[in-house]
């Protein structure tokens, strides 16, 4: 399974990119986060990050599908 992962703000700065394709992605959003966190060393724990698939916020136990666009949302600072 192949998914696109989107990064924002400090996470994009640390990853050095705004998005990347992950091949052989794990089945859940949480496992995907753990994998990319290990690789990039984001320093954001899952308790402070939210996840979106497509244009919707979803739970960490969400099962991913091939072609999904998954965004990890670190603590926000809009307004």
């Amino acid at each position: 399974m192949r998914v696109t992962v989107l990064y924002f703000a400090r996470m994009a700065e640390i990853a050095g990119c705004a998005n990347e394709i992950v091949e052989k992605a794990p089945a859940s959003a949480s496992a995907l986060f753990d994998r990319v966190s290990d690789r990039h060393g984001f320093g954001f724990g899952r308790e402070s990050v939210r996840v979106a698939v497509g244009d919707r916020m979803v739970g960490w136990d969400t099962v991913l599908r091939d072609g999904d666009e998954v965004a990890f949302i670190p603590p926000v600072s809009g307004g």
């Binding site: 400090r10 402070s48 939210r50 244009d55 919707r56 949302i73 670190p74 926000v76």
Partner: protein, 146 residues
């Protein structure tokens, strides 16, 4: 036509305010969030806003629908800037029209709090000492999207 909440250009506050006028609306409450020159004791020169646009627009539609259902209001308008802003620029604008002032104040307050808490938008501050930092507000981390 879908009007986008996120604006890469200066917010036209006059046009937005005018679009809220209703014959039945006895109250219009407006909140303008401006870029200020300091944060946590540090001098700020300018800032940038970045967003996950698709998710921000979707959540904004939900927030607006919730506010319409929850408060007795006639009309809601709002914009949030993305891109580069200077001190004194309008970063976020919210206007609510209602028959009476109480629901207009309540809806406006609820909307700005929800926008700050729920929307995937980040600011990157440029400080006078030359450093640049993305802000990730701890208070925003514990909340769950609607």
């Amino acid at each position: 036509m879908t009007v986008e909440f996120l604006s890469p250009v200066r917010i036209d506050t006059v046009a937005l305010r005018r679009s809220l006028e209703r014959r039945e609306a006895g109250a219009v409450v407006v909140f303008e969030g401006m870029v200020r020159n300091h944060h946590a004791g540090r001098s700020v020169l300018r800032l940038e806003y970045s967003a996950h646009s698709m998710v921000a627009e979707a959540i904004w539609r939900d927030l607006q629908a919730y506010a319409r259902a929850e408060f007795q209001v006639s009309a809601i308008r709002a914009r949030h800037r993305v891109g580069e802003l200077g001190i004194g620029d309008c970063a976020v604008w919210i206007g609510v029209a209602a028959a009476h002032r109480a629901p207009a104040f309540a809806a406006c307050q609820w909307l700005i709090d929800a926008i700050k808490r729920e929307l995937p938008i980040w600011k990157r501050e440029h400080y006078a000492d030359g450093t640049v930092e993305w802000r990730h507000d701890a208070s925003a981390a514990l909340n769950v999207a609607i």
